[in-house]
């Protein structure tokens, strides 16, 4: 029981400033999306550089259809590439993380650091040998070649996320399972895997987003329009003879849609993946 009457909410002028700044920044981040939407709804004749900010004359989705017609094959390519690559690199990352967090051996921390280095390198520094190797393996210019590439260069980040994730599982749980006679695989199956659901979601979202958005490998490893992923196809629309901004903006929005949906629906896990790579676990 308080004796004093509850304090009336006082008006702080600083609050007004805080909200104004926050709204201004929200506008800054949303502006390009707004522009993509209104430009995508315009017809080619309507897209006029000096009237960029005018609203479209009506709700029209012709440009989106046109963009979809152009992007559809590469959209499917991206799906065919992203799904297996995400699954495989998540499984590898889980096993590596399990070993490096719970079955440490002499030099395992150094080994982990050496693996981590692989996620920071500019991929230009491995591109020439990569192309030559894929050519020799008969995988150059194909989706399996892209999958292999993404799985291999995904090892560092998936290993990092799972290692940090598993480090939080109490060692006593493992000890108890060991006493029960469980070995390396038994513990993995009975203790680690049942606790891994969140870890898999975080890693899968991370890999899905980065592989879907990736550009350099897609550009260099594919040589025919039939095999290229959607980011390369989008860049190609931009490079055509005269720029149809309405189709291009509609296309950009289509390419952004899958990862944007994942972000909106599973943002919490997306954020965890984002922070996992940057903060010490």
């Amino acid at each position: 029981m308080s004796i004093r009457a509850p304090r009336a909410p006082r008006f702080h002028p600083t609050r007004l400033i805080i909200y104004s700044v926050m709204i201004a920044f929200a506008a800054f981040y949303l502006l390009p999306v707004y522009l993509m939407l209104i430009t995508g709804m315009k017809s080619f004749a309507e897209v006029n550089i000096s009237r960029m900010w005018d609203l479209p004359s009506g709700l029209r989705f012709d440009s989106f259809l046109a963009a979809w017609q152009t992007l559809k094959p590469s959209f499917l390519n991206s799906i065919k590439m992203v799904v297996p690559a995400t699954v495989l690199s998540s499984l590898l990352g889980s096993m590596n993380g399990y070993v490096l967090a719970k079955w440490k051996f002499r030099g395992s921390d150094t080994l982990f650091t050496a693996i981590l280095f692989g996620m920071f390198i500019p991929y230009q520094s491995i591109l020439i040998p990569l192309v030559l190797t894929l050519q020799r393996m008969g995988l150059y210019g194909s989706i399996p070649g892209l999958i292999l590439t993404h799985v291999v260069y995904g090892i560092p980040i998936t290993t990092l996320i799972f290692r940090n994730y598993y480090a939080a599982i109490p060692t006593e749980l493992l000890e108890a399972a060991k006493v029960d006679g469980a070995g390396f695989f038994g513990i993995y199956r009975r203790v680690i895997l049942p606790l891994s659901a969140t870890g898999f979601v975080v890693v899968a979202i991370w890999q899905f987003t980065s592989i879907w958005n990736e550009f350099l490998f897609g550009l260099v490893i594919t040589n025919s329009p039939q095999q290229r992923p959607v980011t390369v196809a989008l860049q190609n629309i931009a490079g055509s003879q005269y720029t149809m901004w309405n189709v291009q903006m509609a296309g950009a929005l289509l390419v952004a849609l899958p990862t944007l949906l994942v972000y909106i629906l599973l943002g919490r896990y997306f954020l965890r993946g984002l922070l996992a790579g940057s903060l010490k676990g």
């Binding site: 981040y29 921390d109 920071f120 230009q124 990569l130 260069y153």
Partner: protein, 339 residues
Amino acid sequence: MTGKVIEEARPRPGVATRPMAARSRYRLVERLIPILMITPSIIAIAVFVYGFIGWTTVVSVSRWQGIVPDLSFAGFRNYAALLTSYRFQSDIRNTIVFTVFFLIGSLSIGLLLAVLLDSKVRGESFFRTVYLFPMALSFVVTGTVWQWLFTPGAPGQPTGLNLLFEQIGLPVFQTWSTVSHVWPGGGWKPEWLRVPFGVPLAMIPVIIAAIWQMSGFTMAMYLAGLRAIPDELREAARVDGASEWQVFRWITFPLLQPVTLSAVIVLGHISLKIFDLIMTQTGGGPGFATDVPGIFMYETTFKSNKYAEGAAVAIVMLLMVSVLIVPYLIWRLRTETER
């Protein structure tokens, strides 16, 4: 304790009690299994990262400047040629300019937004979601949109953002994306330097686009850092009569140093090897004003088939990133083993 002993002593169905020798062999196998299980990944990284870097290094000192491979040793002439080339000097200047402004912009905006979001505001999760969503997009999408936003119009007829600037009474920065001017340029410079030193104006739209995409990320990092600071710490300072600014300056800010370090590492390595964004937004133009080593390497190697030169550019890129990353990784390893 005793429970454990009893568990071990009691024979269980399916687990045969082993003689000592077999038991120690089992222990050895048990120690080998984990190593065996990560061997495929180790081999993959050893070959695809370290082996390929070695291979690229060999190419970079070779005479392979055409379609037919020629790995005969050429010394460091490819590197020497790079250092004196106009394009590569522009690339290095542009990378420095891009990295410095991109880092300053992303860190300060990220910190500002995190502090605002942390001040008990309404709709925090909505704002956070809006600030962070560009991180989910491809640099290719970002480049495409911002290219349209900065489309140059005819002289006197501002478009895109310039039009918006004009409508709200700000000066028009129309020429940003069309001129290769470097500000301030001119002045004294050493003889070997072939490019004017300063900020290429065409770089500004690219930097803005990059900050648009990545500042939400620093916001998220700083926000996580802020939430990790115990409230009592700040509360105690307030009780002692510290102003909000003093609390921030002397308590919050110093405790955020590790976050700043992480952010510099992550953003720094991204900006030193930036490729996708600039390739789609400007393609490196006009006149190499926004060109970077990543684009140079790609075009030299895969468009002009000058493999040795491209490899040399790639190795310089790797060295630039390594100067930042390797000390960080070693420090991380040291602190981890100390724990």
